[in-house]
Symmetry: C3
Subunit: 468 residues, 3 copies
């Protein structure tokens, strides 16, 4: 039996399912446009083989190891590296077996569907993972990984990826992106400017980061050279293909200080002794500064707001960031974005794409904002909400007020399942087909209109919002 | 092909659809009871022809022009009047063409369904709006508007409107309502007392408004004459048919100050220098005062809370209020309403109807409050939520805790589509039929009970809640 | 005609309904495991007959009398006892008639389904309640109540209850539980440690409660003897079968004070003059203390947070607590629980079960927290959300992030319908079957997996989370 049903995610009522199937057929093989994600450009620069099934599926994927951990499995036993270099499990087969024998934990989760998709579609594994099938699957995957057809570039081409954006720190030298470009390989892998490490005073090593960063803007650590460094680095990122910036902030707060106030705040923050409120104000002001630069240089601005990062100090100390201990929090947009929108909400050509982890904002704030401000687009459901139910809730919630054309289309946001953005994209395409079928069958859309919308949702809206 | 499917908004599963169709059949031609809305009483007083299709569908309808504006079309190009009298597009055909060639933007929105309903049902236009069909539709509509059958009173009668409530400022002299009454026309158009302009210290011209208002209560600007003016105006509105008051506040806060404290606060607010907190407290106290008067004079009280009005200062300065830049915000009810409910929650005959733009309050606060306080009724889903999905969410969320009989039934809240409350009412009737069919098919309601409920939802609950 | 359809709560689409039916068949007669509720242990200790239909269905059930009251019926007229001993209706037939003639108010509510279930399944009453059928039903029920087969223990056995947990105050002497044990009856009725009366400074009689309580810990009212009293009482409750504690707090706030600070705060609170903030901090610190004790003694900890109790002072003064005037409020978990989780989130064997009245926390905070912290489990939808739509929302919201195995399974939380936890359990079993069928039909779960999950959802998850 196949792991995946051909009709998965389509609605149950037969007439509606038929409509969804038809819409999906038209675009299921369309190229992948992936304007936001977290894959490693090194893969495509060096094009060396992935190591093994555990390093591919488990160790780097916080969706996967957080679930196993929630049931009492130690992160060490899953091979998650320790920040202090302490010992962790290194035998990939043992790690894989732990995962496989607990695979039932993923029932009902999107991870299960993504993994099944990769197993079946990429590796030809068609048996449900379990203690019994663990070794067979492990061996099958590892054997494939050894072959040239499973190198990063080969997969990129096989997956019909038209464009893939990665996300790099403002401090990154973009060596991998340069190497990709210089290699003559024709795959389009572009970067994205992500300056959190030099904007967020609570980021690890912030003061040192800013000192290093200011070297790009004139050297000394002043507000002017700091802004100049942003200008310079944004230009350098754009030269490496970037069409966008990305900002991961705990809130969506923005501010509109005078430049004199902002300079004073910068000095205060650089003492390392600014209060939490002042540090938050600095982040807020910097979103407005980034918007100002976007208006000037045309880079699309993305805000990913609302995660309370590193909820467990113990886990942060022992394993570092991004270990599944990031928990969403209530997030305001209507008041938070107002200072920025007052200044730039109508600026010609400015694109600001909003993401949220607080679904209550969909109908209350985000759709009403995107449905009136010319600069605003809504990013697709993010992180925990990048799932069948999450996607359906998003579509049913925002479309009525924002329509389809204030959406930024599809993002895969891939980190660990880097080798198959198709798994994620396929879910989104199926959900779009299901949603459009729902609109048709309830008389809210003509069948003749749905085909164009399906195309737009698959690639058109993303190309437009991200200026690709 | 017709613009509208006969089975629109009915559920997909055949047995369920059949039930919904049957329930809808019984009430689809029932008269319209419209106890809350924003139509212009001048129409019915003067009964002159509407000017043209653009002035009917686009210029006054913030649902319509905000969507076009969100995609970069200037409000000026849609003929939206400037506050400073600056030039805007005046050619209705050009405005209409801009609208028609961008009509795809409305796919999936309730505006699209309302407009299609009006086009097909009122004007006999059966082709989807587009660049190609723009002129034909424009001419067809304008031709109809010239004929006597499309005058306001004729439409009112054709639409089988039993009662239509408008909403007037406390400062309004109700001349149009008097004219309607004196004309001998038998259409029931009643007013509603809306005192925001003299209650909200942040309202444009508040101080002057209150000075003018106090003339109705004894002349001098004191707390006593201010309250006396409210008494007098409420009585005058009631004499013009009003059965209700309406209060549009940023929050649902209420207060229970002593009369001495309230008088002091009034004096402070009238200096024009009260702090934001004190201005909010004044609004809060005034809700309680309005409740006290409702207990005395029997007028039904409505609270529409939770809009952050005029989000863009630039748009407010250039075009004035109600230009689509009103964005919902998180809104508390459980704490906010407590002072008022402590005093009047059990008062004999007192009706308080609550509306929200924050859907999270449905199951958490509003249904539990309405399910216990005798005075409370829940108004239908409002503004952005007055849509298929919004209505279904409301029904599925509140009914389980509040039942059907703590609801205030249907409101159309019409402003621009004034000429066809049927378009909005028809959506609500279909959604009610769909919801009841869902309850029946899942064994939560008997088919024999559903007929009575369908009647109540269509007109009975509104008549009862609004004391009509 | 039967009151209940055999297929109630199953999905409409035929293939999906068939799947749900099949899943339900397997477990519909499984024993009831009820690890949390509010039945009276006296019933099982004394095993005397229930008095009459009104005392069974109406007077003690706030779900029922709040709805009648919301439509203007005085609580006195429903026989709800007055706190001051004032006169209320005492004729059960009159009370029952008021209820029956207003039974239409319950259309669409879960109470209606529970009551119909009890009427039909327990008492053999198969006519819809109404003014016409009131007396027949009343007489039929009362006749049954007189017979030995309707005594509490007989019903317990007939209902196939494997285990029933009650909830007692920390001040309770557990005499009824001792009597049950000493009686030799084999029904498993266990207690739960609920110390709100000695932890919440806003609880009626708090200071006196703590004084009495400290007698169990050494006598004098000090922080040390107070903690010792908790230790002693927890051990005594465990000896009477308790496997869990339960904490009903207005918020989920926790704190991590030093023991010296906590002792100081205790002294301050015991003056009776601590500020609201300090009283809240005491509750917060005590949740952390309870977690510390749970880590030591193995009792499962439950937090039921987010109710603003006794919203009407008048009703509280006249009728006392638990009169339907408890209204949910916005509730934060991500920040609130952090102090406790920092200390005990990874503690071996610690189980913390979270409940909420704020559904917005499902996808935003609760599922992400439970999906990573080993100690956390999510309790089933609680109170107002313990309904068909509420249960479906819960399942669709939390499963994608938390999976099934971070859930605590089913609770009935029964208070008044004590005689039939089957009515509530049956709804949950049907909704689980419907949800699993939805996952299967959309290709998110294999049919072969669903059977095991159905078993786990019915009893397995509850047994595991509650350490039964």
């Amino acid at each position: 039996m196949a792991l995946l049903s051909d009709d998965r995610l389509f609605p149950a009522a037969p007439a509606q399912r038929e409509l969804a199937r038809g819409l999906y057929e038209h675009i299921k093989d369309a190229p992948i446009v992936s304007p936001h994600g977290h894959t490693d450009p090194r893969w495509f620069a060096e094009d060396t083989a992935f190591e093994d099934a555990a390093k591919l599926f488990i160790t780097p994927d916080h969706y996967v190891f957080r679930m196993l951990h929630s049931q009492g499995i130690a992160l060490e036993d899953l091979g998650v590296p320790r920040a202090d270099g302490g010992a962790v499990e290194t035998d990939p087969r043992k790690i894989w077996r732990r995962f496989a024998q607990n695979y039932h934990l993923f029932a009902g989760t999107p991870s299960r569907m993504w993994i099944d998709h990769a197993l079946q579609d990429v590796f030809g594994v068609e048996q449900r993972l379990s203690a019994n099938t663990a070794d067979t699957a492990f061996d099958a995957i590892n054997e494939k990984l050894d072959s040239p057809a499973f190198r990063p570039r080969a997969l990129f081409e096989r997956f019909n990826i038209d464009l893939l954006a990665t996300t790099e720190s403002a401090l990154d030298d973009l060596a991998h992106h340069r190497a990709i470009r210089d290699s003559g390989w024709r795959g389009r892998v572009i970067t994205t400017y992500r300056p959190d490490a030099v904007i967020d005073p609570d980021f690890e090593g912030f003061l040192g980061n800013v000192e290093a960063f200011c070297a790009h803007g004139g050297g000394c650590v002043t507000w002017d050279s700091y802004l100049a460094a942003h200008h310079a680095r944004r230009a350098m990122f754009a030269a490496h293909g970037a069409t966008a910036t990305d900002h991961g902030h705990p809130t969506a707060n923005t501010a509109s200080l005078s430049q004199a106030e902002a300079a004073g705040l910068f000095s205060e923050v650089m003492t390392g002794r600014a209060s939490p409120d002042r540090r938050e104000l600095f982040r807020a002001q910097m979103l407005t500064e980034m918007a100002r630069m976007s208006v000037a240089d045309g880079l699309v601005m993305q805000i990913h707001a609302g995660s309370q990062r590193n909820h467990s100090d113990w886990v942060l100390a022992r394993f570092g960031r991004d270990k599944g201990y990031d928990i969403p929090q209530r997030t305001d947009y209507v008041t938070a974005l107002r200072p920025l929108l007052q200044e730039f909400g109508r600026a010609e050509g400015f694109h600001l794409i909003l993401f949220t982890l607080d679904e209550t904002a969909y109908t209350r704030e985000l759709a009403p904002l995107a449905g009136v401000y010319p600069c605003l687009f809504l990013g697709p459901p993010w992180w925990f909400h990048d799932s069948y139910e999450g996607m359906m809730r998003f579509r049913r919630s925002v479309t009525e007020t924002a329509g389809f054309y204030n959406l930024a289309g599809f993002n895969d946001d891939t980190r660990a399942l880097c080798f198959d953005p198709r798994a994620l994209g396929d879910v989104a395409r199926r959900v779009d087909a299901a949603h459009l079928a729902e609109l048709i069958v309830t008389g809210r859309l003509d069948e003749s209109e749905a085909g164009d919308l399906m195309q737009d949702l698959t690639t058109g809206l993303a190309r437009r919002a991200y200026k690709l």
